[in-house]
């Protein structure tokens, strides 16, 4: 039987290393993805994700299952990301804003390819597309960005996201509305072709009703 996050965390509290290992396996990827999209620097995101696990480990003795584990985890992650962005702002302001994005985020990210490698041109188009989306997300104000990432990618419920961001559910809803409105304008060139017909990389199996 699959043990819940809380059960695993209570195991960690009792000194069970295997429970920590399982939590690590469960949340390593989502945390890295979240932080990567938050700070847009692969190395920094990974460092922050480790810091999150380290804090969970440090707090294990005092852990009480009062809130959902994911609320706690992503609250730590969000705070670390916001602090890190704040600390880095001065440093970043010294870097030219016109510098190509590749130099800022170390995007040596491998493009996931299905069977049979597509031609280089297709890879480039896909890479540009990914880059445009990542830039648009990163251009959102920090709190809106975190809200979008927790809503769209982590699929947390409103109450959880509101707790993580320290706002009310109704404030969160308008935060999300404004963020998606900005993205709708920014990403219009990517969205439009799909509305008129299935374009390359179209997603007919989107989770939305």
């Amino acid at each position: 039987m699959v043990r819940s996050d809380v059960q695993l965390m209570l195991g960690v509290k009792q000194g069970d290393e295997a429970s920590f290992e399982l939590l690590l396996q469960r949340y390593r990827r989502p945390l890295c993805h979240f932080l990567n999209r938050m700070v847009r620097d692969a190395a920094q995101a990974e460092d922050l994700a480790q810091e999150v696990f380290l804090r969970v480990y440090r707090a294990r003795r005092e852990y009480e299952p009062s809130a959902k584990f994911t609320t706690w985890l992503f609250r730590i992650a969000t705070n670390l990301a916001l602090n890190s962005l704040r600390d880095g702002r001065h440093r970043q302001s010294e870097i030219s804003l016109d510098a190509p994005a590749e130099s800022q985020d170390g995007s040596e990210m491998p493009i996931e390819v299905a069977d049979g490698a597509p031609v280089v041109e297709e890879q480039l188009v896909e890479r540009d597309r990914v880059e445009v989306v990542r830039r648009a997300i990163f251009a959102l104000p920090e709190k809106q960005r975190a809200a979008v990432l927790l809503h769209k990618y982590q699929e947390l419920d409103y109450d959880e996201i509101a707790r993580i961001l320290g706002c009310s559910v109704s404030a969160l809803k308008s935060l999300l509305f404004r963020a998606y409105e900005t993205l709708r304008v920014e990403l219009a060139p990517l969205v439009a072709p799909e509305a008129s017909g299935p374009g390359p990389g179209g997603n007919p199996e989107g989770k939305l009703p």
């Binding site: 890295c32 705070n79 916001l82 104000p141 997603n203």
Partner: protein
């Protein structure tokens, strides 16, 4: 429901978390409002685009580096343990106070406040002692405080 109210209801309608009643009301509005219909379609389009966009995967050495960092962690509650190791409670208290005085002196001199306690730790009143012990707890938990203040700080949006 009018266009303005869509701001509070459209997202829940689109992601399927709206109540039946909310859903009905949004449906009614969308039926008669081309602008909001187009916005709703646009949001769906954005969500599809976001879902297609991958993020970099964690590196292969993620776990190994984390284990390294955990290995050098001091044991939890190091101050209370330190106090427990010391044979006499009074000695433990005195050690904690000495550390607190040192820290206080350092911060006080940095912020240019007078620090009489640092000059003459022996002559401290009971009240001063009590405040120092309280400070010790804050010092131990300063990371928590930092997190809390970060969470409560208003973000520009």
């Amino acid at each position: 429901m009018n266009c303005e109210q869509m701001e509070s209801h459209l997202i829940a309608y689109l992601d399927g978390r709206a109540s039946a009643r909310e859903r009905r009301e949004v449906d009614q509005h969308l039926a008669g409002c081309a602008a909001c219909r187009s916005r709703a379609e646009g949001f769906r389009g954005v969500w599809n685009v976001l879902e297609e966009t991958p993020a970099p995967e964690p590196s292969a050495w993620f776990d190994a580096r984390l284990r390294q960092r955990i290995a050098v962690e001091p044991p939890p509650g190091i101050w209370t343990r330190l106090a427990a190791w010391l044979p006499q409670p009074r000695l433990a208290l005195a050690s904690l106070m000495l550390i607190a005085v040192g820290f206080w002196a350092a911060t006080a001199s940095r912020s240019q406040l007078p620090a009489p306690a640092a000059q003459n730790p022996v002559a401290m009143s009971e009240e001063q002692n009590f405040r120092m012990i309280k400070n010790m707890q804050v010092l131990e938990n300063y990371e928590v405080l930092k997190d809390l203040s970060a969470a409560n700080e208003p973000q520009g949006d």
